[in-house]
Symmetry: C2
Subunit: 376 residues, 2 copies
């Protein structure tokens, strides 16, 4: 006989994708989700009650205020969310709870006081969240199309710019990272996509993979574009990186670009249902090492290849599976990025990133954007 166990989440679905996935309901403040004996329940504030009842994909929506009033009438001084959960669960006789790893410790401690046993589960908390449905693939592709439109507009601006004194100029002004990032972000907003932390970083700035870029863009040196907006309508992300140069790259920089491009192709070749993400990642690391592209600290700064090869994309920009040192076995229906890069201060940085759908015997590339290094 199995003991009944409820699934419990308390979070704001605006920022917690497991909760949004379970309910398809967005709210900015924390609320309670319970799955008990096959029934899916929400407990909502008065403010969200009606909207939850009409929008959330659950079986029943309870009023937090009503339960709170009942508890106070019974003598509870300051009932919190954990006490409200307890009130809902009492009639079910459930004492065992499955919660996500990020479940708030404050609520967990109170539930333990009330006699509950809590268990956590590694991500993905909902295994099926990693496997994209046809709708989800379509939504992610739509976000990707918007991303490509925005990067196309940005590259058009770079093409129109002129290299002079080591930097790019457009319409009489130095062309800055900030200007190009705004162009991308505004274009994406026009397409109902919300871009944050867009990267347009050139020269040595790009050698820090998460540097967003600032100031005039360099001529003759590589510029990394990494754009990963979320659709305002579907809430699904896309993710793409391209590296370009405006002007004349050094032979060494062109070799760096080719090395990353070839490595990415090799990695994409290996993606299929059942492939081991950690092996794919290790393959890229070995390939770079064997070509003489070393990884490690130099003058106290990381250089070479020091990030993962890929990550899942969906309701979060980084989600399972991983193609990295702590990689996963890939499964049909997952959507992952493939994004090797090389970073050498002085020389420059290259990262090339596509998003692919894992299939039974390979993958389908969801990215329709050329890999052009020299913009002219």
């Amino acid at each position: 006989m199995t003991v009944d166990r409820a699934i419990l989440m308390i979070a704001a679905s605006e920022s917690d994708s497991n909760l949004y996935y379970a309910t398809r309901f967005v709210a900015p403040d924390p609320f309670i989700f319970l799955e008990v004996k096959g029934e899916r329940l929400l407990v909502m504030s008065d403010l969200e009650l009606d909207r939850a009842r009409s929008q959330a994909s659950v079986d029943r929506v309870l009023s937090y205020a009503e339960i709170d009033r009942r508890l106070r009438a019974q003598g509870a001084a300051e009932p919190g969310s954990a006490d409200v959960v307890h009130a809902v669960l009492q009639e079910h006789g459930v004492r065992s709870l499955l919660v996500p790893g990020n479940f708030p410790y404050g609520h967990a401690a109170r539930l333990q006081e009330l006699g509950y046993q809590l268990e956590t589960k590694r991500e993905p908390f909902f295994e099926r969240r990693a496997i994209k449905t046809a709708d989800e693939v379509r939504w992610i592709e739509a976000t990707q199309r918007a991303t490509e439109a925005a990067v196309t507009a940005a590259h058009t601006a770079l093409r129109a710019a002129s290299p002079r004194k080591g930097v790019l100029w457009l319409e009489g002004e130095a062309l800055t990272s900030e200007r190009i990032k705004k162009l991308i972000n505004v274009k994406l907003m026009e397409l109902d996509c919300i871009a944050q932390h867009t990267i347009v970083a050139g020269g040595d700035q790009a050698c820090d993979p998460h540097h967003e870029g600032t100031g005039p863009l360099p001529a003759n040196r590589s510029i990394i574009f990494d754009v990963f907006p979320r659709s305002g309508q579907t809430r699904y992300f896309a993710d793409m990186s391209r590296t370009v140069v405006r002007g004349k790259p050094s032979a060494e920089l062109s070799r760096l670009y080719q090395a990353v491009k070839d490595a990415q192709e090799e990695a994409i070749q290996k993606i299929r249902d059942g492939a081991d993400g950690s092996k794919t990642h290790q393959g890229i690391c070995d390939r770079f090492e064997s070509m003489g592209y070393r990884t490690g600290l130099v003058n106290g700064r990381m250089q070479g290849y020091f990030h993962g090869t890929g990550h899942g994309v969906g309701l979060d920009i980084h989600e399972p599976p991983r193609i990295s040192r702590t990689g996963s076995i890939l499964q049909e229906g997952e959507i992952v990025t493939v994004e090797p890069g090389l970073y050498y201060p002085g020389l420059g940085a290259v990262r090339i990133e596509d998003m692919v759908l894992v299939t039974r015997d390979g993958c389908r590339n969801l990215t329709n954007f050329p890999k052009t290094f020299e913009l002219d």
Copy 2:
């Protein structure tokens, strides 16, 4: 003698404002923050190591990979973040940890296994986060100026529209919530502010306070604008609501508007250092009731006044203090919204929201935007 206790957070500062507040460093994936015996430490992945060292306002940045390697060399099979925390704390002899209420239970359980005592603290976790510095006030005001510019552009479009057959028309098309929301969000992005969940909801849609609005905007009925972007540069939010009508409102709707406007003025009058937020909120509730504006379920739907009167604004859009049923004692330097509203399906909805800075003997309104009901 006091026992040494460390402060610990493990979160992604992109979504966890306490961690961003403590470090002034944005990263999309979880990392470790520790404050031990006055020293503030980060433990970062290779990917973020250099950026953290140059950007984060902490004393020391340690390498997660290095500690992980050491633990594996010592025989640990799959060390996690909690084990890495343990490795850092061992030399300090600290066994007691203060964590935020939202600290991930998965890590908490492992730390307890390792012999740590965990305590949580109610929000605000950092009390000084509620009290805004001169810089923070300036940043929030700048976001507010952008908000006002965007709503000005939206109202200009509404003014240019013509009422016909119960809805608004502009340039030969029905003027929709979606079109106005996009106008606002794009304008804000041009001003480096990121708007999500912007509300432009008319008629009965607006009677659900978090309905974002969809379809053609009604003529002669109230339309609620609630706009609350975050600055991409400073990360500070602003928040403003206005209610307008294009065409001719009914006398009853005009009375509703005046009732909310007067109630808001009364609430703003009461704001000062030491004021009790729950009393201010109760005052508004009583005022509405005494005017005959009843609150409660009607035909299974909430109507009247069923949300809080105000909330703190800063690095989160909703943060302490609260001017609500569970209100706080206000303190000088806090920034709060004052946003009463009334919602009656059939008649319509009104919400008016300013953002004010609490001062010793009153407040300073940070909102410079007219309260015009009838746009003409």
